[in-house]
């Protein structure tokens, strides 16, 4: 793989850009791999990447039924933060945030990580108490956040209506190191690095069955034939229950639609990420100038990658109260993704009832921010059978009642 650098740009400029290589190969599947990762989204690709980089396991295939990064990785609102309440969450999300800081250099691929700062607005007394509690928890967890008063909120986000009356801003939980990254680039960067390590990216290859023998995984059936494997990592977000069904077990997961939409592009108007969880809305401005807006999930099981229109209307209506300046903007595009929701709104990184099969799912509405940390922990789990970062996110927590409850403080926008 030729490295991307300013010298490469200069060199190619002198020869009509004829020397750029393909970023990743599209090989034919081999007969057998040590590890098969199902799902070439951010989490699947990151899992494969750290398997190779940290654990030296490079005979790996990443199987994807569509195109890489075409699911939730390409559909989210690109927010990165780690201001969670519970210790296990803070550990894995903060690991992810820290890895994002050096990811462009690590992958030699510009993921456009932009730690522009992130505010979670408190718009009720209850939220104010909740976020202050989160700040105290974060301080104990070595996650840098602080509580800021309305005056400072207004200074950071001048377009914000802090007076109310319906949704007054009483302060905010501020994570200065939070921000955004370019979501496609994260998938592409990991894919390029995986391909460079000799891993096989098999796009347009659908897994149709999981083959087991004596309670142990031996391979998968795909639309391009059977492939054997030593271990299988299922990292497919919304379709986790479908894959688990093929392997013969059920997951505590329900798939639902989550939508996002963007406005027409405008001049720079907001340079931080703002989350208003009381009204189920969050907003940031992309480099193109579009206001990127997300809301809450629909309430019913759904695999259709489209959601209910009234959620778009409700979220936009509520955000207009908080940001009156956006009231005349036209909304440009709207889309949906299928998210995998758990009861406690925390992910599942776990062994399964079938030996050799591991699942990484349940990231629900907030997986993008976790991609590097999730991949790092999942790779360790697959390679060694144990990962300290993943230990408390196992399926055992549902049997034992050891939930990692992240739904109380903010049931939306994780």
């Amino acid at each position: 793989m030729r490295r991307y650098s300013i010298f490469a740009v200069a060199r190619e400029a002198l020869r009509y850009h004829s020397g750029w290589e393909k970023a990743w190969a599209s090989p034919e599947p081999k007969k057998r791999y040590d590890v098969i990762v199902v799902g070439a989204g951010g989490h699947g690709l990151a899992t494969a990447y750290y398997l190779g980089k940290v654990h030296g396991i490079k005979n790996v295939a990443i199987i994807e039924k569509g195109w890489l990064g075409g699911g939730n990785t390409g559909r989210n609102t690109t927010i990165i933060r780690s201001n969670y309440l519970q210790d296990p969450s803070a550990a894995i999300y903060e690991k992810a945030r820290a890895l994002y800081e050096g990811l462009s250099q690590d992958l030699n691929y510009n993921v456009m990580f932009s730690p522009r700062g992130l505010l979670m607005l408190a718009q009720s007394e209850h939220e104010m108490r909740g976020y202050k509690r989160t700040v105290y928890a974060n301080n104990l967890q070595n996650v840098e956040t602080r509580w800021i008063e309305p005056k400072e909120v207004k200074k950071l986000v001048p377009i914000l209506n802090i007076a109310g009356p319906r949704y007054p801003v009483l302060g905010a939980l501020y994570q200065e190191k939070g921000g955004t990254a370019r979501h496609d680039a994260v998938a592409w960067g990991y894919a390029r690095a995986c391909s460079d390590m000799g891993m096989d990216l098999l796009q347009n290859t659908e897994v149709t069955g999981v083959r087991t023998a004596e309670g142990k995984v031996v391979g998968v059936d795909t639309s391009r034939g059977a492939i054997d494997c030593g271990k299988l990592a299922i990292v497919v977000a919304g379709h986790s229950s479908v894959l688990a069904g093929m392997a013969g077990f059920r997951l505590p997961i329900e798939s639902m639609a989550l939508q996002a939409w963007v406005s027409e592009p405008i001049k720079p108007t907001i340079d931080v990420v703002v989350m208003a969880n009381l009204v189920h809305g969050y907003m940031s401005q992309s480099d193109k100038g579009e206001l990127v807006i997300g809301g809450g999930t629909d309430g019913f099981n759904n695999y259709s990658q489209r959601g209910s229109w009234h959620h778009v209307e409700e979220t936009t209506r509520a955000l207009i109260e908080t940001f009156p300046v956006i009231s005349r903007l036209k909304m440009l595009r709207q889309w949906g993704g299928i998210v995998d929701m758990t009861g406690d709104r925390s992910p599942i990184l776990s062994k399964t009832p079938v030996e050799g099969i591991f699942v990484n799912c349940g990231w629900g509405t907030g997986g993008f921010k976790a991609i590097p940390g999730s991949g790092f922990a999942m790779a360790e789990l697959v390679a060694k059978g144990y990962s300290p970062l993943a230990a408390e996110f196992g399926l055992h927590r549902f049997k034992e009642g050891q939930f990692i409850d992240e739904s109380v403080a903010a049931g939306v926008a994780h």
């Binding site: 379709h239 229950s241 997951l251 329900e254 798939s255 309430g299 019913f300 099981n301």
Partner: protein
Amino acid sequence: MLTLTCPCCGVTVEETELAPGGEAHLKRFGPGASDADFETYMFARKNPKGVHFERWRHAYGCGKWFLAARCTVTWEVFGTYPAQTSEPPAELIAKIKEKRPGWEGWK
């Protein structure tokens, strides 16, 4: 937008008038049950890609719970029926089988 007919009051309404209540026909386990049964009842979900039996409440109408058979991919509604039953009506199952020959059944 999803529209369902409430079998209790007979009104056909859109989703904004309804509250979703998750998977239907869960077999309940309580005190004295095994850990595995209790865990399955509490958390394990079919979450099918296809025909799904689910609970709904006519929240801004008659207020009653009812059940619906719906496709989670196409949003096609096969039928709705009152909640006072432990399994779907036979004629509804027959109707779904006719429409979806490959369907693996409701259990």
